[in-house]
Symmetry: C2
Subunit: 202 residues, 2 copies
DNA sequence: AATATGATTGACCGATACGGTCAGGAAAGG
DNA sequence: CCTTTCCTGACCGTATCGGTCAATCATATT
């Protein structure tokens, strides 16, 4: 990892990073050619190897960087100071949208990284972005104030529903290749408000 | 397409078909090697080329076959004689589950085919399994009896929610590589019953 | 102007993967 | 036996890709 990479003008550095997110989020690790990343960044393949000594280093740098960026944005937005469940969801959404404006393919990159199966990478990815625990366990751990939600509502199922629908939305956009932060904010906000209305105690 | 393929003992023919579904559902068309399909089917690559004159022919056969199978199962289950919306959803689920028991990767194969981007294939896929119209339009076309659902419920959003969550579930299982029809039936039935409870008029 | 230093490239290499072919060996049937 | 069908391993040409390298370009220094 050549230090000069960090001395690059922001524009060029971002171009390389985004090119990496882009290509890796659309194919598996193995099927993401360095040449394509270089082309997407507007530089030569050789120069890419000048900054990163090999493909693995680039990939792992992007893993690390993506979590740093996410963490940064989360604290910047003060996500977890909220107490209303749907507000938390919405602020989480805000984070993704803000991030997506600067790094259109970041969340898709992370999504793919969670599921990357390459033997040589799997272990290191876990260290960098954390193992994905599955929505079932997340739903288990949820501690919510029952009195704020509709009577008799199964909160675990509610969470499952919300999680799966958001995930389904993301996958759909990923496959379609259409990434539009504003559209995404609009769609998912509408969903969240729908849920708030349906699930809240009257 | 060698006619002798259809004279094969069912077991062997199914092995080949399922191998095709399996491999094509896990990679893109381009990245699905014929050798891997052959290996998964327990035959030699040469024999696979004996039955199908090239990769494209095999792929398109699988497209055709998967829709035929689905269509068959749908009429067999008499899906659309039901009138209750959630019953329709559940019978659709039954179709998928039944099919999945014989062809574990069929629905994943179709899901991938909808999004396959290969220039040479795109047109023919549409002809065989139909173009995917997007859930938004599906939600538009929905004609439901408002009086059966909770008062003031946004039916379009309800459908969007249900569609995205089911889709999210499928993607999640696809990526995790864990395909278990019974598990799927259990999970999605639970979701459907949850929705029925929340969305129905009290 | 000469030189040194780092940035950047195109051409190239070795390895590998893959679609497809082919000559010929088993099997099955007569 | 012989013929036809089934089936395989070895092989080929091509394309791709990670990575290298010598050469060039830009810039700053002497």
């Amino acid at each position: 990892m050549n230090e000069s990479f960090f001395q690059l003008p922001q524009e060029k550095r971002m171009a390389i990073i985004n090119a990496g997110f882009r290509v890796f989020s659309r194919h598996s690790y193995k099927n993401s050619p360095m040449s394509e990343i270089a082309a997407a960044a507007g530089i030569s393949k050789s120069l890419l190897f000048y900054y990163f000594k090999n493909k693995k280093e680039l990939y792992l740098f992007l893993c690390r960087h993506s979590t740093e960026l996410t963490q940064q944005e989360i604290t910047r937005q003060g996500c977890y100071d909220r107490e209303d469940f749907f507000d938390i969801f919405l602020s989480g959404l805000k984070v993704k949208v803000q991030l997506m404006k600067r790094y259109p393919d970041l969340s898709l990159f992370q999504l793919k990284a969670y599921y990357e199966k390459d033997k040589e990478l799997r272990g290191e990815i876990n260290k960098l972005i954390g193992e994905y625990s599955g929505y079932e366990t997340q739903a288990q751990m949820l501690k919510l104030d029952k009195s704020r939600f509709a009577e008799g509502l199964d909160l675990k199922m509610m969470y499952t529903d919300m999680y799966l629908a958001s995930q389904g939305y993301l996958w759909e956009k990923l496959q379609g290749g259409k990434i539009d932060p504003d559209r995404m904010e609009k769609d998912l906000t509408a969903l969240a408000e729908f849920w708030r209305k349906v699930y809240s105690r009257k």
